[in-house]
């Protein structure tokens, strides 16, 4: 059935709203994005369905995407027919029976309770709007969820629910009331910049492609989210695929494109599955295909699965991969907006960029431009992970101080630890030391620190993270992901990694540090694409702000964070050891000995420094000291 009129659309929205808001009994909404699944949401969901089967009419079970608060997964939201909403996590399937018993009587026990969501009104909102999150919870209260507005509210596999929250209304408005030029102008004046990393103005890119000669235009959604430590795009694809599709269709209308492709990395099977389903649903209702919403406009979308290569996120490499070649970048110009896929003008935008478009159309460019800073408009989704108390996906207005993100939303360091830095922008970014956490997070401020916003990865590092090890980690990554086409990147990164490995092994010299800087500058200058040009950033920023850690490795032959294996030994603090024997049981080499209830000891010669003892010790008796 194709949607042809406003009344048909309203009918669907009403149906979706009835799913979202129970009219009797309670609804349980289980967070079923990949993070939830990794924490055991599948078992929770199955148990919930089983219990609900015994309570017909009283309890309904729904699925949703990512609620963002990974730290507390598996997350379950309970909705009552009075419109109340309460979020719980972590919820174990064994506790579910008891929870449901209480929830259905209107009781919200404190155990596992995260907090209330504002109630759902009796009728769907008239336009796409931002639903509030937990207004009193430190993890949520600073967030403005725009790109991720529907994630965690709707079942991503039920288009009616997305429609109830206003999906495709922006598209309907574009097609019925605006010319492509007007849409283009709106996106341009919103100030939206690409969310994939480079921050290029989206409207300008569209305009270039629209004005480029050629009968055929392609539009690509870059979902090859390659930065390790970043999963914003996965969550959007898994949680609200229609926001991305709607953005693409609007983009196609504005630029005159007929075909769209979504290039998704193969590491995201669930995202691929849900997007495929969303395309089918959108096509069956006439939001995609021929004669969209009866206006004569035509556009289709296909999925291309990536095959595992970091460099294929680079736009010319991505095009090469789609065309069937190795994903090697080529020099630009010509830019893909002029000469891209199969030689045609091609608009390539990142997942989050596309997800922003419908709200810009719905609420207007000036509304969007009112969020953020002078040069960086709107909001940005970040994956706040690593050594931080509350890990999760957060969306905040551009310009939010790093401190607010890490210490308020993220809850600061884990118990007993001390924050050291935040690594932003993945392998192309840098490390911002804790002293500079007042920095506003926007494109310009991060660039001024030698880092980048990148796609939105924020990996928090604490006193247990060694900056030499982090630099080596990223170089190992970029070295092996270098496509090998240009020499500075291929050979230079390899040589730099060799130097860093030497330093980590306690065999480096102070001259090595200068050598690293020289090589970094050369590689940045001479590499062909963004991978090589930015790969030295983690080294340069750590050398600049954490030189003392490098010096400890090369001068004192010590690793202050206790990470670099060649420079540390494991020992047991006999005062703290209870003699519980847990460590001795787990030691893979039998290096730990002692009598029960008496302090144990580690034989240094047998110890392989795997750290298993430290992971299982409940008395913090395992100490890491300097080697030798």
């Amino acid at each position: 059935m194709k949607v042809r009129s406003k009344s048909e659309l309203d009918e669907l929205r009403k149906k979706g709203w009835e799913c979202l808001r129970p009219s009797g009994g309670i609804s349980l909404v289980v967070g079923m994005a990949s993070c939830g699944l990794a924490a055991g949401a599948e078992a929770v969901y199955r148990k919930a369905v089983e219990i609900a089967g015994r309570r017909p009419g009283d309890c309904r079970i729904l699925k949703t995407g990512c609620l963002g608060f990974c730290q507390r997964e598996p997350l379950v939201e309970v909705r009552t027919s009075a419109g109340e909403r309460m979020v719980y996590g972590p919820v174990a399937s064994s506790e579910l029976e008891g929870y449901i018993e209480e929830w259905s009587r209107g009781i919200f026990p404190d155990k596992g309770k995260i907090g209330p969501l504002p109630p759902l009104p009796p009728n769907p909102p008239p336009t796409a709007s931002l639903l509030s999150w937990l207004p009193d919870h430190p993890f949520y209260k600073h967030q403005v969820r725009l790109a991720s507005r529907n994630c965690g509210h709707i079942d991503p596999e039920d288009l009616a629910q997305a429609l109830a929250l206003g999906s495709y209304q922006g598209l309907a408005r574009c097609l019925s009331a605006h010319s492509p030029e007007e849409v283009l102008r709106e996106v341009k004046s919103s100030g939206l910049r690409g969310r994939g990393g480079a921050g290029y103005p989206t409207g300008s890119k569209w305009e270039t492609a629209r004005n480029a000669p050629g009968a055929n235009r392609y539009l690509i959604c870059n979902a090859d989210e390659g930065d390790p430590g970043a999963y914003m795009d996965r969550s959007l694809l898994e949680g609200d695929p229609h926001a991305i599709l709607e953005g693409m269709i609007i983009g196609a209308y504005a630029t005159g494109s007929r075909h769209g492709l979504i290039y998704v990395r193969m590491e995201y099977p669930l995202a691929i599955e849900r997007m495929r389903h969303a395309i089918e649903e959108a096509s069956s209702l006439g939001f995609l295909g021929e004669d969209i919403l009866g206006t004569g406009f035509a556009f289709d979308v296909d999925i291309v699965e990536g095959a595992g290569a970091f460099v294929s996120g680079e736009e010319t490499a991505l095009i090469a991969a789609i065309e069937g070649r190795m994903a090697e970048p080529r020099p630009r110009p010509p830019y893909p907006a002029i000469e891209g896929l199969y030689g045609c003008p091609t608009i390539i935008n990142n997942v989050e960029t596309w997800a922003n478009i419908p709200m810009i159309i719905e609420n207007g460019a000036s509304w969007f431009a009112g969020l953020g800073t002078a040069g960086s408009k709107g909001t940005k989704v970040f994956s706040l992970v690593g050594a931080v108390a509350h890990t999760g996906l957060v969306e905040v207005p551009m310009g939010t101080p790093l401190r607010a993100i890490v210490e308020e939303i993220g809850g600061g360091a884990r118990p007993g630890r001390k924050l050291k830095a935040v690594q932003t922008g993945g392998p192309s970014g840098g490390c911002i030391p804790a002293e500079r956490f007042d920095l506003p997070v926007d494109y310009e401020s991060l660039a001024a620190q030698g880092s980048i916003m990148g796609s939105g990865g924020m990996v928090v590092l604490d006193d247990e993270s060694c900056m030499v090890d982090i630099a080596r980690y990223f170089l190992d990554f970029t070295r092996s992901e270098s496509c090998g086409k240009c020499t500075p990147c291929r050979e230079g990164l390899d040589r730099m990694l060799h130097i860093l490995e030497n330093i980590a092994d306690g065999k480096g010299t102070e001259q090595d540090l200068d050598r690293l800087i020289d090589m970094s500058l050369g590689i940045k200058d001479a590499s062909l694409c963004g991978l090589g040009k930015s790969a030295p950033n983690p080294i340069l920023t750590t050398l600049n702000d954490f030189r003392h850690e490098y010096l400890a490795h090369v001068l004192d032959r010590s690793c202050p964070a206790g990470v670099c294996k060649a420079l540390i030994t494991y020992g047991i603090d006999s005062g703290a050891c209870s003699g519980c024997e847990a460590c001795a049981k787990f030691c893979p080499t039998g290096a730990i000995s002692g009598e029960k209830d008496l302090p144990h000891r580690i034989e240094v010669e047998k110890c392989v420094k795997c750290g298993a003892c430290r992971e299982v010790c409940r008395f913090e008796a395992i100490r890491v000291g300097a080697a030798g």
């Binding site: 990974c70 970043a230 193969m266 291309v304 069937g324 070649r325 392989v608 992971e615």
Partner: protein
């Protein structure tokens, strides 16, 4: 398998080479030499290009993997939270390096770049099922439960 039909499906599609290779790999679990020769011909793509792509991307294998495939995430968040130690443990226990298969063909081990479950780091995938918040002890338990399942089926 019908390599020719597969090639017909992919010949004019975007992502034709990676798509066809993935479909081919799904059949046998790896890219078998004979099938590659036939695919190159049917897809009208030089064999060098096919092997170029197959060895460029990490998705493709020219040899079969183990019956139980373990992917350990080596993303940044996992690295910071001990992902490398999980990998080292599996290497010790299985006696293989990442990318290798145990002698009895039961297990293969793979280091993956980032599974995008960073909030639950460190994570691993065992035969398509995700497991988060691991440490060496939990990985050990997970591993033993797999071995127990296998005992039951063999």
């Amino acid at each position: 398998m019908d390599v020719e039909a597969l090639a017909r499906y992919w010949r004019n599609r975007p992502g034709k080479v990676t798509g066809a290779l993935q479909a081919l790999q799904k059949e046998a679990g790896y890219l078998e030499e004979n099938a590659m020769n036939r695919l190159a011909e049917a897809l009208e793509v030089p064999l060098t290009q096919l092997y170029g792509v197959a060895t460029f991307f990490s998705a493709f294998r020219l040899e079969p993997r183990g019956r139980r495939h373990i992917q350990v995430c080596q993303g940044t968040a996992c690295h910071v939270r001990g992902g490398a130690r999980i990998m080292e443990k599996l290497q010790r226990d299985l006696g293989v390096a990442p990318g290798e298969v145990t002698g009895d063909g039961r297990f293969s081990l793979e280091a993956v770049r980032c599974l995008g479950c960073c909030g639950l780091a460190p994570v691993a995938v065992v035969n398509d099922s995700l497991h988060g918040r691991l440490n060496q002890a939990r990985m050990g338990r997970l591993f033993r439960s797999i071995e127990d399942q296998d005992e039951g089926t063999i």
